[in-house]
């Protein structure tokens, strides 16, 4: 794991998606210089001062630092402060609300690395959280420092770095609970190396976990673990124009520059984002209530729909993306075959879209395509 961390920088150029600290290396350097210039105090083990960390996430025009996280600045403040405390930081919220991105940004700014990461899955074991062994060495040398393979958590404790634990609720509760003693005692016992062998966390160590509490296939968190985290709920974007902009940007990132692909016109994006926002909030922009589907109507899903619609137009259609493609994809991609959700969407189309279709061509295309899906 340690070799991987040091190797990242060297291969950055050839990587599909270099880590945050590589992508924004210049900004981080500028912020560090700003700290030095101001004589700002850095919490023990931190690369930057809290204000600089904040500036890295929400941007600072004067320092030439771009904004990377949108929507909720006080949440960023709270997250930064939480990381200074004894408790870990738990970012919860629906999928697609940029929880992971926020945790990457914070780790990169605070510790200079965002790669000390445990990816939580149903198959995550205690070894991934504590340590495991290089079995060849273990057989030849027995349990020694050399044969011990530290987990990202252990590495983070040694280095005094932030450790990211993604999707923690996907792990079995007993695996999650491995963190309880680490977070409260800030040390990790290694009985195999002797009765007193332990790894003590250096200042700067802390854990940022991300979790989804409502999705299917997630586990409960124990009360003991919950107590060791500060919870922050990351909410979906509420501003329509801003979400359109986000989708546009993401679309460019996914499919390349608009020149090389069927353009998704602004009015189509508007229809798409409006549909997502209204179904997500359960209320139309005119204030009429609609039924909220169970499925997650996140910005990320909206991007998926836009991508799929664009691909459909390119390979199956006439190369023009219209609201009709969007309608078909919303039904298919977003409402993953749930009958009740399909009914909700139908209700929405019947009552809201039908009305708009009378006056607006874009909505009419959406309506006709959606109607065709269940007639």
């Amino acid at each position: 794991m340690t070799t991987e961390t040091t190797g990242t920088r060297a291969h950055a150029a050839s990587e599909q998606r270099p880590p945050v600290e590589v992508r924004y290396a210049e900004e981080l350097a500028a912020l560090a210089a700003w700290d030095t210039e101001r004589g700002a105090e850095r919490p023990p083990g931190w690369r930057l001062s809290p204000r600089a960390v904040r500036a890295f996430v929400v941007g600072d025009e004067q320092l030439g630092v771009s904004r990377k996280f949108y929507g909720d600045d006080p949440l960023v403040d709270r997250a930064v402060v939480a990381l200074m405390g004894r408790q870990g930081l738990m970012l919860v919220g629906e999928p697609g609300t940029a929880k992971s991105m926020l945790s990457e940004l914070l780790s990169a700014a605070v510790s200079g690395t965002s790669t000390l990461t445990v990816q939580g899955t149903a198959a995550t074991t205690e070894d991934h959280v504590r340590y495991s062994w290089n079995y060849a060495l273990l057989v030849s040398e027995g349990p020694t420092e050399r044969s011990l393979v530290p987990s990202p958590v252990m590495t983070g404790m040694r280095a005094g770095s932030l450790v990211r634990f993604e999707e923690i609720t996907r792990c079995a509760p007993e695996i999650q609970d491995t963190l309880v003693s680490i977070l409260s005692e800030k040390q990790l016992m290694v009985p195999e190396l002797g009765p007193d062998a332990r790894e003590a966390a250096r200042p700067g160590f802390n854990v940022i976990a991300t979790a989804n509490l409502k999705d299917r296939g997630v586990h409960e968190m124990s009360a003991a673990l919950k107590r060791r985290f500060s919870f922050e709920t990351v909410a979906p974007v509420r501003d329509r124009d801003f979400e359109i902009e986000l989708v546009e940007r993401q679309l460019a990132a996914e499919l390349g520059a608009p020149a090389g692909r069927p353009a998704v016109p602004r009015d189509v994006l508007e229809v798409l984002v409006t549909v997502f926002q209204e179904l997500r909030s359960g209320i139309t922009r005119d204030g009429a209530p609609v039924k909220r589907p169970e499925t997650v109507m996140s910005t990320a899903e909206a991007v998926n729909v836009a991508v799929a619609a664009s691909l459909e137009a390119r390979y199956l259609g006439d190369g023009r993306v219209t609201a009709a493609e969007v309608a078909r994809q919303v039904a298919g991609v977003a409402l993953k075959g749930d009958e009740e959700d399909a009914r909700r969407l139908r209700h929405y189309v019947d009552n809201v879209v039908r009305e708009r279709a009378r006056k607006d061509k874009g909505w009419k295309a959406f309506f006709d395509a959606a109607e065709a899906l269940w007639r």
Partner: protein, 947 residues
């Protein structure tokens, strides 16, 4: 402190616009002449501390406070030792016809105005209010101006969203301009503050008492903050809402008090130079205008031009009452727009500041122990824990009381987080948002956030909102509520001189005066003050007797009624306000039920508000109903609620929900209904349409009803179909008659309504055209869903049967389709139980079809004949039940048909057999057993069977 000699501006003024710089210099110059302008934000502890210090230091001869000048008369009452804030001065509109009612001038212990009052009196200053009289305001004007009004504005305006704000609880201290100023918003963004409240905290409330007692600096800074936002508004806007008139009055009064000649400002006015300085405490938004006007700057012209030639003369007089107030209504966050939010928090902050000043922690403290004690009667002794920690501990306790446990380490962590947040945000001490963020960070242990309805959210509301209730001296004037009730009752011509019960016979539909009477009677009935009770007539709330035209009430004004009204005085200053409070309480209860709230329950509330004539509140209640409809999953409740709404709409004329109809009837009161009623009636109908959409969504549920719920589902579906039909008619009435305004003739809307039958189709077509003109067909979704359900073979059989039957009645389903469907459902081999449920549905919906459609009769007859005997017995009870929907004459005609078919006499078929179901079942069982025995013995042919 560099005392009065300081006329130059501090360096920080360098980048300010010229207009502000010259005004700031003018303010300093005015100080030289003994006129001290104290710009404050209402309910700001920081300003309160500064005001107090300014008074103690200057020992002014006169203190002028922004507030209607007739309040000066109440100064002794305000200074009374039994008066404890929060209190408010209540003004009622002069003409009873002014919509909206009372306005309040609230004072909390931490309001600069309150502190000015008390401190000024302690140093022997002459205290006067100096603003335009409350009765001179014109609400219609201010309501029309885009961002409405600001400041302790006499014309405190309505919020932009009618229904959000209680028009009876208008405050004279709303601050809309500041909240909407682009400069303030830009500044907030730049400093990383989420709104103008946090910006204010960041700039001012976070200052230590040390800094606050330097009142010159604080006032200069507050002035700059408010003046910047003032520059965002043109004089036209400020003139239109009366700001300039008010500023003219305030500056004119200040000039008079200071002995400055109003027409040659800046020159002393020989005769009446006061014996000391004049301190003018006003909302900071007005300070720019006051300074420019008093100093004779050219920008002050618009204000100076408004000064009357002969001066303002003696102070205006007018009625006003000192009433107790509470933190709940003081809280800007709760929608009353009373300035700063969270009075509970700022009260603590102010108490802490006062403690610091008291104990000499602050440099230069100790000016006057008397005034200090007067301001902070219950501030404890000695330095306490920081306000943040205190608040965190209290929130933790309040949350624990409600079942959300917060551990001591969590509180400690939150205290640390609050200071670190403050540090991160560059504030010396944690402010309100820092503490709130610390709570969010450390007390929440799931993804639900604070949640206004959750224990933690309620705890925060309690601690930040505060629970303080003020006190006023005993023996004041008659509580306005009693007076108002008397006036209202008298105004509608009800006799209150005797204590003998009297009867009123009312025809609310045709006589507007009767309508007004009914509203007053119903309103006092809602207050449960024992004044009157309804003996007969339509009950719009229960939805009974809606066709009745006359109604009868018995009433009597007794001392008991007055006593009860005194008891209810806390509910509001007027009968309307008290009624609103009660409705609100009920509304809160329904809101608390959340997802369980039934749409029908809310519809009842809407009906209640309509009946008592509180039409201004209908939009809000309608909003609640809109949300409830969204969560209500019970088709029955949605349908019942919608029916109630439609009933209200139909009675719109007699309920005064229509433009023009309330005019003469409500003349006694000039109710707002006049202006908004048409909208309300329309809104009700729109809501009906929306409710139908919800019902349409729930229709498929009825289709999935199990055998036990099937009957309820059939009833709901049938009612829904009737409702859809009625709504279409209502919609047609509305659009066809050129709007409800023209619908003055009683029952005009109903005359054209045809019953189901040949004419219905034509009517539907007409409706269709009319509706198309509006661009909307309210019942279409319902009709569509019902049709879907009807054509779906998997629909619960009784529901499907019922829908097919009504479809046939309505002419939507041809007879042959119906017959085919019935044949299909009853075909040999079909599950007899399902078949009978289906038949039951048909009979429930339209029993007479069986008589009018021979093919249907044949189909049923044939199917029943073909049923195996066992199966027939099993379904017999349900079958019998199904046929009970026929009327006796129909039963007889059916019997005749059956007799004809079977060759017996109708009398033998249609006979009342005095045996019960059990007897029949037992008899049939015996018969069956006998047949089996005979068959076993090879004698089956005795019973007609094959051997």
């Amino acid at each position: 402190m560099s005392a009065d000699t300081r006329t130059g501006l501090r360096d920080v003024w360098e980048p300010a616009p010229d207009r502000l710089r010259s005004a700031a210099s003018a303010m300093a110059a005015l100080r030289e002449q003994g006129v001290y302008l104290a710009p404050v934000r209402h309910h700001s502890p920081a300003c309160a501390v500064a005001v107090r210090r300014a008074v103690e230091e200057l020992r002014p001869a006169v203190v002028l406070i922004e507030g209607p000048e007739e309040y000066t008369r109440l100064v002794p009452e305000l200074l009374h030792e039994e008066t404890h804030p929060p209190v408010a001065v209540l003004s009622l509109p002069e003409g009873r016809g002014v919509p909206g009612g009372a306005s309040f001038y609230p004072l909390a212990s931490f309001s600069p105005e309150w502190v000015a009052l008390r401190t000024a009196s302690a140093v022997g200053a002459d205290v006067r209010f100096c603003d335009r009289p409350a009765t001179e305001r014109d609400p219609s004007v201010s309501a029309a101006v885009a961002p409405a009004t600001d400041g302790p504005a006499v014309s405190a305006a309505r919020q932009e969203t009618p229904g959000e704000q209680d028009p009876f609880a208008r405050t004279l201290m709303s601050e809309r301009y500041l909240a909407h100023s682009a400069s303030v918003a830009a500044l907030a963004r730049r400093l990383g503050c989420r709104d103008h409240d946090e910006l204010w905290d960041h700039l001012f409330e976070s200052r230590s008492p040390d800094a606050l007692v330097d009142w010159r600096t604080l006032f200069d800074d507050v002035f700059a903050w408010a003046a910047l936002s003032r520059l965002d508004y043109e004089d036209e806007v400020l003139a239109a809402d009366g700001s300039l008139d008010r500023e003219a009055r305030m500056s004119g009064r200040a000039a008079e008090a200071a002995g400055l000649s109003p027409h040659a400002p800046g020159t002393p006015h020989a005769p009446s130079t006061p014996s000391g300085p004049v301190l003018v405490v006003t909302g900071a938004f007005h300070t720019l205008a006051l300074a420019e006007a008093l100093a004779g700057l050219p920008e002050g012209d618009p204000v100076r031009r408004r000064w009357p030639d002969g001066g303002y003369g003696s102070p205006a007089t007018g009625d006003a009452w000192l009433i107790r107030y509470d933190h709940e209504r003081l809280d800007g966050l709760r929608g009353y727009g009373a300035g700063m939010p969270s009075p509970g928090f700022y009260e603590r902050l102010h108490a802490a500041h006062a403690r610091d000043v008291e104990t000499g922690t602050v440099r230069g403290a100790g000016a006057s122990a008397v005034t200090a004690a007067a301001i902070t009667a219950d501030a404890g002794e000695g330095p306490g824990p920081g306000v943040a920690t205190e608040v965190l501990v209290d929130v933790a306790r309040a949350a624990a009381d409600r079942g959300h446990q917060v551990s001591t380490p969590q509180v400690a962590a939150a205290a640390v987080a609050a200071s670190r947040l403050a540090e991160l945000r560059l504030r010396p001490v944690p402010g309100r948002t820092d503490v709130l963020d610390a709570i969010t960070s450390c007390f929440v242990t799931d993804d639900g956030g604070i949640g206004p309805e959750r224990p933690l959210g309620l705890a925060i509301a309690e601690v930040f909102g505060g629970r303080a209730v003020g006190r006023v001296p005993e023996g004041g004037a008659v509580p306005p509520l009693v007076r108002d009730a008397r006036e209202r009752v008298r105004a509608v011509g009800l006799d209150i001189e005797t204590t003998v019960p009297r009867t009123a016979r009312l025809d609310a539909r045709r006589t507007p005066a009767h309508r007004a009477r009914r509203q007053v009677l119903a309103l006092l009935d809602l207050l449960d003050c024992g004044f009157g009770r309804q003996l007969s007539g339509p009950d719009h709330v229960a939805g009974r007797g809606l066709g009745l035209i006359g109604e009868e009430w018995e009433y009597c004004w007794t001392p008991v009624v007055e006593a009860r009204l005194v008891e209810l005085s806390h509910l509001g200053a007027t009968v309307d306000a008290a009624g609103v409070t009660l409705l609100r309480q009920e509304e809160e209860r329904l809101r608390a039920d959340g997802a369980q709230a039934a749409a029908d329950g809310v519809a009842v509330l809407v009906a209640r508000a309509a009946v008592v004539g509180l039409t201004e509140h209908l939009p809000r209640l309608v909003g609640l109903l809109t949300r409830t409809l969204d969560t209500d999953r019970d088709l029955g409740s949605v349908v019942a609620g919608t029916r109630r709404l439609l009933g209200l709409w139909r009675s719109r004329v007699e309920l005064g929900l229509v433009v023009g109809s309330a005019g003469s009837g409500g003349a006694a009161r000039g109710r707002t209904g006049t202006a908004e009623g048409g909208g309300v009636a329309d809104e009700l109908l729109t809501l009906v349409a929306q409710a139908l959409a919800t019902a349409a969504y729930l229709v498929p549920d009825a289709g999935h009803a199990g055998p036990d719920d099937e009957e309820a589902a059939v009833v709901s579906v049938l009612e829904l179909r009737a409702l859809a039909r009625d709504t279409r008619r209502a919609w047609a009435d509305r659009s066809g008659s050129g709007g409800p305004a023209a619908d003055g003739v009683p029952g005009a809307g109903r005359t054209g309504a045809p019953g189901p039958g040949p004419g219905a189709a034509a009517a539907r077509r007409t409706t269709g055209t009319a509706v198309a003109a509006i661009g909307r067909e309210p019942a279409a979704a319902v009709v569509r869903e019902l049709a879907r359900l009807r054509d779906d073979e998997t629909t619960a059989p009784a529901v499907r049967g019922a829908l097919l039957a009504v479809g046939s009645v309505d002419g939507d389903v041809p007879d042959d389709v119906l017959v085919a469907a019935v044949r299909g459902a009853l075909r040999p081999g079909a599950d007899p139980a399902l078949a009978v449920r289906f038949l039951g549905g048909v009979l429930r919906a339209a029993p007479d079809l069986l008589l009018h459609t021979p093919e249907l009769f044949d189909a049923v007859d044939g199917a029943l004949r073909d049923l195996a005997p066992d199966a027939f017995l099993a379904v017999l009870p349900d079958l019998r039940r199904g046929f009970t929907w026929l009327r006796p004459t129909e039963t007889h005609r059916l019997a005749e048909r059956v007799a004809e078919r079977t060759g017996s006499r109708a009398a033998d078929v249609d006979v009342r057999v005095r045996i019960d179901e059990n007897d029949l079942a037992a008899g049939l069982a015996v018969e069956r057993e006998l047949a089996a025995v005979l068959a076993r013995d090879g004698l089956a042919h005795w019973t007609g069977g094959q051997s």
